[in-house]
């Protein structure tokens, strides 16, 4: 079928893209004038020439750059992203450790952004110029302009410290402890283990960071839904629908909304990928052990393997989201399918 061959072609196209990304990454990281040994070894072991020599050999830093690159690529094909300079763990293992926290927070923020962003945008469009429109604009503006390190601290101060209605930082109450490890997604794991205290604790710990992280996406969605819906509402076929004497609700829901939401698929795809790649500020404020901090530390420390690994994972995530968005487009909009 047409769609399937399209997907297969897109998937195959990813291979040269991934190779391209690894080359770009490799070149960029290696031209930075930093000696990675400064990261691998501590201040005191830098004094010992034997340690320096051993580390240089162990981490392959004595080989030429093309040689280092081909070794990396060869291992990558076998699913081995190398050993992190800093944590001394396989990068794959580190990513598996940190990714679940990010995924859980990303999904929660995404749900928050959609559940609130879409209705807010729709009502703002329908009542353009009225109170709800102004409210939605201000709310979106706040979300887009408040830095998370400020809004996060403020929310913690208010809801955790002053009012005591929501828990403090972390993924779960320290005295309750995380559920038995299965996937690393605490909500899922706690349900799997039937550990209800851990479930409720994890859920309540998700609220604040999800709001802070999702707020920006919410703002984006509300604004784009609004403008897209307003545009659609001015189309001829809407006037025709109204002229036919359809109820306003039918006009909006059946005729306008469906068309207005098509551009949202693109936005949502990219926003979802964005939320999945971690958010350094939110993770820092809420002591959230996600991939964002890991990636930033990897780049600050010039931890080549970790840096390459996280960037690759993020790049592949974006590629997949783009593919899904394109496929969804074809499914939703017959014109694209036929084109």
């Amino acid at each position: 079928m047409n769609l399937i061959s399209y997907i297969v072609r897109r998937l195959l196209l990813m291979i040269p893209m991934i190779i391209g990304i690894t080359i770009a990454l490799f070149v960029v990281t290696r031209i930075v004038p930093v000696n990675p040994l400064a990261v691998i070894l501590t201040e005191k072991s830098m004094d010992n020439p034997a340690s320096v020599k051993a580390a240089t050999e162990k981490w392959g830093l004595d080989k030429s750059l093309p040689e280092q690159y081909f070794i990396y690529l060869k291992n990558l094909v076998q699913g081995d992203m190398g050993i992190s300079f800093k944590t001394k763990n396989p990068v794959t293992k580190d990513i598996i450790t940190f990714l679940p926290a990010t995924i859980e927070l990303g999904i929660a923020s995404f749900i928050f952004a959609i559940l609130l962003g879409l209705p807010l945008g729709i009502f703002a469009a329908l009542r353009a110029g009225k109170f709800i429109d102004h409210f939605s604009r201000v709310f979106a503006l706040l979300g887009a302009s408040m830095p998370p390190f400020w809004s996060g601290l403020l929310m913690l101060f208010l809801f955790y410290y002053k009012l005591g209605v929501l828990p403090g930082p972390g993924r779960v109450d320290a005295r309750i402890g995380p559920p038995t490890h299965a996937t690393g997604l605490f909500l899922f794991d706690s349900l799997l283990a039937g550990d209800m205290p851990a479930f409720w604790s994890s859920l309540s710990h998700l609220i604040l960071p999800a709001i802070i992280l999702g707020w920006f996406t919410l703002a984006l969605m509300a604004r784009i839904t609004r403008s897209s819906l307003i545009e659609v509402l001015q189309q001829d076929y809407i006037r025709t629908a109204r002229a036919k004497g359809l109820r306003e609700s039918a006009v909006v829901v059946k005729h306008a909304l469906q068309n207005a939401l098509i551009p949202m698929v693109t936005i949502m795809g990219l926003a979802f990928a964005g939320l999945m790649t971690g958010a350094i500020m939110t993770e820092t404020i809420f002591a959230w052990p996600g991939i964002g901090r890991y990636a930033v530390e990897a780049s600050v420390n010039l931890d080549y393997p970790a840096l390459m690994g996280t960037t690759l994972v993020i790049a592949i995530l974006y590629m997949f989201m783009n593919l899904i968005v394109d496929v969804l487009y074809a499914v939703i909009d017959p014109r694209i399918r036929e084109a």
Binding site: S51, L257, M268, R293, V300
Partner: protein, 565 residues
């Protein structure tokens, strides 16, 4: 019904993404029911309700004891395997899970006491050390502690050649003489070795247990030892607590070792939670979510003092912040600056131009002290009375004497962070008043370390924290020309090297003290470094906790803590 279908697709996107990413193969090391040796921590659900037995009094288990929660920064922890860990926070975890042979207790940092060792002796030239272990001690696993375990632990550290291996630099052999006697041989006289042996990194591991999990102390341990993955999540020591879980950048969980040889701890479990923001740490303490925190920010002192539920202590640390100036007249970066700085009068002019009191007041809110040289207060031979301060006239005179009465310009380098930015700005302001223009060059941490370690910088701002309590921790690294900071700043003075060697090789307390006093004078005259401030740590805990004692190397020993009755 077309709209719901659209929404359905959206939901599908979410679900699909969830299933794609959610189905990562479960981490290989999925902790199968932690084999915590001392405490079986079966969740209540698994245990059928026991019919109250009651004839014999039930022995106290770890679950019967309260839980202690500590909030602090844990993000420097990259491994908890003593063979690999070389950061700071791991020292706190290691002192609580492993026992060292000897120890400096918080209440007396100058006298060494035995921990696992009953006695120790050395030969006349400090190349051989013999430790005699206390008899009858066991690890948390129940295995006896023998000399073989000591040899295994230290040989493993040497052969893995990981971050902490420098502790044992120069050690040529660690051998078990008999079951309870271990002999350490060093290539060169090494009187500091006894102090080094108190470093929590050198805690003794249960060789049997570590070997079961792939550990080895063989020559090729760097490539053949596979115990790290297990040791990251478990401990193999005899300490008051046992590590049962480490979630990186999140939490560390310790369970009481009820058979600890000094007596069972008063807390059944310790959870150390990573919280980066100091304000949030304090909030957790105030709400009772945490019982103690790692360090209190001096900005938050007023808030903390106003809370009657908190106990605040200030403790002098040995953490130093220094400004270093090169003695090389032609450094690779900014040779013009180094051409000036290699004249010691210029270095002195810089040092006397800085307003240290103002710096400590404005940056540290007064929580800082200063020592006369780079060797901190609290160390043998360091006399606080000799501490000098700003002297603008002297500074200007020194500049004029060096032929630069109309002022000079210098390049100043540091790894950028919030504190260092403020310090650099303050130093720049102060020096402007004596006619020295400072160009501030903030760098990314990794770039700074690379350049500094490659001896390229003319002026640098750094910090130093001790790993063991012996004057060599400072005299070696700041006065021996081929070591660490002295090497990187090209500082080499024959007399200083000779005195540092005396401190290094002479164990006679009076001789060492004399050498340190003399060395200190030379350092003040040569001025390769000036101490900006020595930290005063502010620590806080809830008043429901007693026994808190700060230690400058390993922070806190949880075994000393107890709930208030």
């Amino acid at each position: 019904m077309k709209v719901p279908r659209t929404l359905l697709y959206l939901l599908l996107v979410v679900c699909f993404a969830m299933s794609v990413v959610g189905c990562q193969p479960p981490a290989a090391e999925t902790p199968a029911a932690p084999e915590a040796p001392a405490a079986t921590q079966a969740p209540a659900a698994e245990q059928p309700a026991q019919p109250a037995p009651t004839e014999e009094p039930k022995p106290v288990t770890a679950e019967d004891l309260p839980v202690l929660v500590m909030a602090m920064r844990l993000d420097d922890v990259v491994t908890l395997d003593p063979g690999y860990a070389g950061e700071t926070t791991n020292l706190t975890i290691h002192i609580n899970t492993y026992d060292t042979l000897v120890d400096f207790r918080p209440d007396d940092l100058t006298n060494m006491v035995g921990r696992l060792a009953e006695s120790w002796e050395n030969n006349a030239d400090f190349t051989e050390f013999t430790f005699k272990l206390k008899p009858g001690l066991t690890f948390a696993s129940g295995n006896p502690i023998t000399a073989e375990d000591v040899a295994f632990s230290w040989n493993r550290m040497i052969n893995i050649a990981g971050a902490p291996a420098w502790n044992l630099d120069g050690v040529t052999a660690v051998e078990a003489v008999d079951e309870l006697t271990v002999k350490v041989t060093c290539a060169e006289p090494n009187p500091a070795f006894l102090s080094i042996a108190a470093n929590p990194s050198l805690g003794i591991m249960d060789s049997k247990l570590v070997k079961e999990h792939g550990g080895t102390d063989a020559k090729d341990a760097a490539t053949t030892d596979t115990a790290k993955e297990w040791l990251d999540q478990n401990s193999a020591g005899s300490g008051p607590f046992t590590l049962v879980r480490w979630s990186p950048k999140s939490e560390i969980e310790l369970v009481a070792n009820m058979t600890y040889f000094k007596g069972a701890p008063k807390f059944g479990k310790v959870i150390i939670k990573h919280v980066e923001d100091p304000t949030t740490q304090l909030q957790m303490l105030q709400t009772g979510d945490a019982d103690l925190i790692g360090q209190l920010d001096s900005d938050l002192m007023e808030v903390a003092q106003a809370d009657s539920n908190l106990v605040i202590t200030t403790d002098q640390t040995l953490d130093m912040n220094y400004l270093a100036m090169t003695s090389n007249c032609k450094t690779e970066i900014s040779p013009e600056s180094s051409a000036l700085l290699c004249d010691k009068r210029i270095r002195q002019a810089v040092a006397y131009g800085i307003d240290y009191d103002g710096l400590i007041q404005s940056v540290m809110n007064g929580y800082g002290v200063r020592a006369p040289s780079i060797i901190p207060l609290g160390i043998l031979g360091v006399d606080p009375a000799k501490t000098w301060g700003r002297d603008v006239e002297k500074s200007k005179a020194l500049l004029a004497e060096a032929g630069h009465a109309d002022g000079i310009t210098l390049d100043y380098y540091y790894a950028s962070n919030a504190t260092r930015e403020i310090v650099a700005a303050k130093v720049k302001n102060d020096l402007a008043e004596v006619g020295i223009t400072l160009n501030l060059n903030p760098m990314e941490q990794s770039v700074y370390l690379s350049e500094m370690r490659a001896q390229k910088l003319p002026m640098a701002q750094g910090g130093w924290t001790p790993d063991y309590l012996d004057p060599t921790m400072w005299t070696d690294y700041f006065a021996l020309g081929d070591r660490s900071v002295a090497f990187r700043m090209w500082y080499k003075n024959e007399k200083a090297t000779e005195l540092a060697m005396t401190v290094r090789t002479n164990m006679d307390r009076a001789a060492r003290e004399k050498a340190i006093v003399e060395l200190q004078d030379i350092l003040i005259d040569d001025m390769p470094y000036t101490m900006l401030w020595q930290g005063v740590g502010i620590h806080a805990h809830r008043n429901t906790l007693t026994g808190y004692k700060f230690h400058p190397v390993w922070l806190v020993d949880f075994w000393e803590l107890a709930p208030v009755e």
